[in-house]
C-alpha cells in the first residue's frame, strides 16, 4: 500500500517546495512580506533592482555564460562520440567519466583557477622561456570581466555530465549498426555518426541539456570562484543581497530571484530557437549527401577537445594537491622549492566538524532518496505500468534555477519558525539528490529482465521476497553507483547548505567556497582537495564492494 503512494510522494516532495519557494520569492519581489513590514504590493523592489549599478551587465553575463558553456560542452561531447572508435584513448576517457563527474564544481573551479592564474601552473611552465615573465604578469585572467574563465570552469564540469547522459542513451539507438549501414553507402565513419546517430541522440539528451543551461546560467559557487566581480553574475549578486544585514535588501533579492528566473527562461528560449535553426541546417547538410569532406577535421577535433578538457581537470586537481603541500615557491619555478605538511596540520583540527556534517547530510539525503526511488521503481514494476509521464517533473529542481526558489524556500522556513538545522539542509539536498539517484537507478531497474522476478514468484516467493532476495542483490552494483552519485551531488551542494543552513551549517563545500575571497592558495588547496576526495571514496566503494562480495560469482561480475 505504501508503495502505491511512492510516485505521488516523490513528485509532491519535489514540486511542493519549488512552488512554495517560487511563491515566496514572487510576493516580496512585489513588496509583500508582512514580517519585514511589506504590507502592500508595489513596484519599489523592481525600481531598486534596476537602479543597481551594472545589473544589466550581470544579467547578460549570466545569460551568455549559460548558453556558451552549454553549447561548448555539448559540442565537445558530440564531437568526441562521433570520433570515438573504441581505441585505447576512448576507453580510457570513458572510464574517467564517473570520477570526473564526482569532482564537486567548486573543487574543479579552484583547480582551474590555480592552473590559469597569472602565477598559476601554466604561466610557470611557460615562463620565462616562452613568455619572458620573471614575475607574475598583472593580468586579470581568473574572474575576468567577460566571464571566460567562468565558462571554462563550467565546461570542464558539464562535459562529463553530458557524456554520461549520452552514453546511457546511446545503446537504444544501436549506433554501430547505423554507422555500419551509412558506411556501406560510402560515408566516412565520423561523418556517418554525425548524419545518422546525432539527430536521434539529441532528443534523448534534451532534458539534461536544458538542466545544464539552467545550472550554468544561475550557478553561484563556480561564479564566486571564477566569475567576474564588478559586477558579479546575477546569481552571486542575489546571494549578496540576501545575506546583507540590512533586511530591506530582501525585497531587492526577491526581485533579483525573479529576474534570474527570467534570465534562465530566456536562455532556454534562445536555445530552443537555436535547436530549430541547427535542425534545419543539419537537415540541409544531410540531404546534400556529402560523404567525405570534413571527416579529418571532425575526427581530430573530436579527440583533441575532450582530451584537453580531461587533462585540464586532472592537472587542476594535481595543482590543488601540490599547493596543499607547497612550501616556499618562487615564480616562475614549475615546482615548489620545498614541501611541507604544515598547511594540512593547520587545517586538520578544523576539518573534522565540516567533514562530519558533510557526510551526515549526504548520507541522510542519499539514503532517503534511495528509499523513495526504489519504492517508486518497484511500484512501477509491480503494477506493470509504463513510467508515468509525471516523471519529467523529476527534472524540475534541475531546470528551475536553484537561487530562484531556494531563497523563497528559506523565507518559508523562517516563517514556519523552523530553525536552520542539519535536517533542514539535508531536506534541501534531497531536492537535488533525488533526481540524480532516480535517473541513475531507473536505467538499470527498467532494463532488469522481468523473468527473474517472475521466476521467484513461481517458486513461491512473495512480491517482497522477490524484491529482497532477487532484485536487490542482483542490482547491488547499480544501486551502489546510484548511492555514490547521490553522495557526490550532495557533497558538492553549496547554495542549499548556505541558504537553508542560514550560514550556521558548515560543510566542506561552504568552507572551501568561503575561502575563495581570502586567496590563501595553500589552505584552499587543502580544503578543495578534501572536497574532491570525499565523493571519490563513494565511487571507489561502489566499484569495489560488488567485486569483493561477488568474487565467487562469475555471473555477477560486470553485471547490469
Amino acid at each position: 500500500m505504501m508503495l502505491r503512494l511512492a510516485p505521488v510522494l516523490l513528485v509532491a516532495l519535489l514540486v511542493a517546495p519549488i512552488l512554495a519557494g517560487l511563491g515566496m520569492a514572487l510576493l516580496p519581489a512585489f513588496g509583500y512580506l508582512p514580517a519585514l513590514g511589506g504590507d502592500s504590493l508595489s513596484l519599489a523592489p523592481w525600481r531598486a533592482l534596476f537602479a543597481e549599478p551594472g545589473i544589466w551587465r550581470s544579467a547578460t553575463i549570466s545569460l551568455a555564460s549559460g548558453l556558451l558553456a552549454t553549447a561548448i560542452s555539448l559540442a565537445v561531447v558530440l564531437l568526441y562520440l562521433a570520433a570515438a572508435t573504441g581505441s585505447r584513448l576512448d576507453r580510457w576517457i570513458r572510464r574517467l567519466v564517473s570520477p570526473l563527474l564526482s569532482i564537486p564544481h567548486a573543487a574543479a573551479a579552484f583547480g582551474l583557477a590555480f592552473l590559469i592564474a597569472p602565477s598559476g601552473l601554466v604561466a610557470r611552465l611557460a615562463s620565462p622561456g616562452l613568455t619572458g615573465w620573471e614575475r607574475p604578469p598583472d593580468l586579470l585572467i581568473v574572474q575576468d570581466p567577460w566571464g571566460l574563465s567562468l565558462i571554462a570552469g563550467l565546461v570542464i564540469k558539464e562535459i562529463p555530465f553530458l557524456l554520461l547522459m549520452s552514453l546511457a542513451a546511446l545503446p537504444q539507438l544501436d549506433p554501430e549498426r547505423r554507422v555500419a549501414m551509412a558506411r556501406s553507402l560510402g560515408y566516412r565513419p565520423t561523418l556517418a555518426w554525425w548524419k545518422v546517430v546525432a539527430p536521434s541522440l539529441y532528443p534523448l539528451i534534451r532534458l539534461p541539456v536544458y538542466a545544464v543551461i539552467a545550472y550554468a546560467s544561475s550557478v553561484v559557487d563556480v561564479a564566486m570562484i571564477l566569475g567576474p566581480t564588478l559586477p558579479p553574475t546575477l546569481a552571486v549578486s542575489i546571494l549578496g543581497w540576501f545575506s546583507d544585514p540590512d533586511l530591506d535588501k530582501r525585497f531587492l533579492a526577491s526581485a533579483g530571484a525573479i529576474l534570474q528566473l527570467g534570465v534562465t527562461a530566456t536562455a532556454l528560449a534562445i536555445w530552443w530557437g537555436l535547436e530549430r535553426l541547427v535542425a534545419r541546417l543539419m537537415g540541409g547538410w544531410i540531404a546534400r549527401g556529402g560523404r567525405r569532406r570534413g571527416e579529418t577535421g571532425l575526427h581530430v577535433a573530436g579527440k583533441l577537445w575532450i582530451l584537453l578538457a580531461t587533462v585540464i581537470a586532472f592537472f587542476g586537481i594535481a595543482g590543488l594537491a601540490i599547493h596543499s603541500v607547497a612550501g616556499f615557491w618562487r615564480f616562475p619555478d614549475a615546482l615548489p622549492g620545498s614541501f611541507t605538511a604544515a598547511h594540512w596540520a593547520r587545517v586538520l583540527p578544523s576539518l573534522a566538524g565540516p567533514v562530519a556534517s558533510t557526510a551526515l547530510i549526504a548520507l541522510c539525503a542519499t539514503l532517503l532518496a534511495m528509499v523513495l526511488a526504489l519504492a517508486a521503481l518497484e511500484n512501477e514494476q509491480r503494477t506493470g505500468r509504463h513510467p508515468s509521464r509525471a516523471l519529467w517533473l523529476l527534472y524540475l529542481p534541475l531546470i528551475v534555477p536553484q537561487i530562484a526558489f531556494l531563497f523563497g524556500l528559506a523565507v518559508v522556513m523562517e516563517q514556519l519558525g523552523t530553525r536552520p538545522t542539519l535536517a533542514l539542509v539535508a531536506f534541501g539536498h534531497l531536492l537535488f539528490v533525488l533526481p540524480y539517484v532516480f535517473l541513475s537507478l531507473s536505467e538499470a531497474y527498467r532494463r532488469f529482465d522481468p523473468r527473474w522476478s517472475r521466476l521467484a514468484l513461481t517458486l513461491g516467493a512473495s512480491c517482497n521476497g522477490a524484491f529482497w532476495r532477487v532484485r536487490l542483490p542482483m542490482l547491488l552494483a547499480p544501486i551502489l553507483t546510484a548511492l555514490a552519485v547521490g553522495l557526490a551531488v550532495s557533497i558538492g551542494q553549496y547554495l542549499p547548505t548556505q541558504l537553508l543552513g542560514g550560514g550556521r551549517v558548515t560543510t566542506v563545500t561552504t568552507e572551501a567556497v568561503s575561502l575563495a575571497a581570502g586567496g590563501n592558495r595553500r589552505v584552499i588547496g587543502v580544503w578543495a582537495l578534501v572536497q574532491a576526495c570525499l565523493p571519490l571514496a563513494g565511487f571507489i566503494l561502489a566499484v569495489g564492494l560488488p567485486r569483493l562480495l561477488w568474487s565467487r560469482r562469475r555471473g555477477m561480475q560486470g553485471a547490469p
Binding site: 503494477t383 506493470g384 505500468r385 523473468r451 527473474w452 517472475r454 521466476l455 521467484a456 514468484l457 513461481t458 517458486l459 513461491g460 516467493a461 512473495s462 512480491c463 521476497g465 522477490a466 532476495r469 532477487v470 542483490p473 542482483m474 547491488l476 561477488w550 565467487r552 560469482r553 562469475r554 555471473g555 555477477m556 553485471a559
Partner: protein, 211 residues
C-alpha cells in the same frame, strides 16, 4: 512428491481489445503433458502469462483455471502453486547451486540441506552445492533448473519452450529427463513449443493454436 494433481482450463478466452488471441478448453490429469503448438504471435506466451498470473493489464481474460478443483485465476502468481520452466535455465547468479535449489523450497520443509544433497545426486551433480552456477555447463544448468522447480513442490507446471536453446544432442536427453520427472511427480504439465519433436517426446495430446 507423489500427490496427484489435476489442472482444468475451462473456456479460456484471452482478448486484446476486440481481438481474440487464444481460446482453449482442456483438462490435464496427473502426470499428463498437454502440448500447445503454434507459430510465433499465436498467443502462446500470452496463454502462459495468464496461467502463471503475469498477464499484462491491457489484456482481458475470461474462463476458469481450476487446480485440484479450486479456481486460481484470481490468485497472485506466488500463491497459485504453478511452477514455470523458462527457455533459459535462469539460475540466480548471486546464489550458489545449493542456494538456487533452496530458494523455492517451502519454508516449513525440514531437513533442507539433506534434500538438496539428495536432489543433486539425483541429477548426477553430487557435490556441486557450493559451486557458482556460472561455472556449470548448459546441460548441468538445465538440470539444476528442473530440480529447483521440483523442490518448490508445485501442483502444476508450465513449460515455455524449455528445450529450444539446448544443443541438439542434449535436447533429447533433457526432454526425457524432464517428462519422466514430471510424470513421476504426478504433475499436470502444459508445454508450449513450436518444435514438433518436443510434442512427440512429450507423448500427450497436442493442441494447435492458429492466428
Amino acid at each position: 512428491m507423489n500427490a496427484t494433481h489435476r489442472l482444468e482450463l475451462r473456456d479460456i478466452c484471452i482478448q486484446l481489445g476486440d481481438q481474440v488471441l487464444v481460446e482453449l478448453d482442456a483438462e490435464i490429469g496427473p502426470g499428463e503433458v498437454l502440448t500447445v503448438m503454434g507459430p510465433s504471435g499465436s498467443g502462446k506466451s500470452t496463454l502462459l502469462a495468464y496461467l502463471a498470473g503475469f498477464l499484462a493489464p491491457e489484456f482481458r481474460a475470461g474462463g476458469q483455471v481450476l487446480l485440484d478443483g479450486h479456481d486460481i485465476s484470481g490468485l497472485p502468481a506466488e500463491r497459485r502453486g504453478i511452477g514455470l520452466l523458462f527457455q533459459d535455465p535462469l539460475l540466480f547468479p548471486h546464489l550458489s547451486v545449493a542456494g538456487n535449489l533452496r530458494f523455492g523450497m517451502p519454508r516449513d520443509s525440514t531437513d533442507k540441506a539433506a534434500r538438496v544433497d539428495k536432489a543433486l545426486a539425483n541429477i548426477g551433480l553430487a557435490g556441486f552445492g557450493d559451486r557458482d552456477p556460472a561455472t556449470l555447463s548448459g546441460g548441468q544448468k538445465a538440470r539444476v533448473a528442473l530440480m529447483r522447480l521440483l523442490l518448490s513442490a508445485p501442483c502444476a507446471v508450465l513449460l515455455d519452450e524449455p528445450f529450444s536453446k539446448l544443443d541438439t544432442h542434449l535436447r533429447h536427453e533433457m526432454r526425457r529427463l524432464v517428462f519422466d520427472r514430471l510424470r513421476e511427480a504426478g504433475l499436470p504439465s502444459l508445454l508450449v513449443t513450436h518444435d514438433g519433436e518436443d510434442a512427440e517426446d512429450a507423448g500427450g495430446r497436442v493442441i494447435e493454436l492458429s492466428h
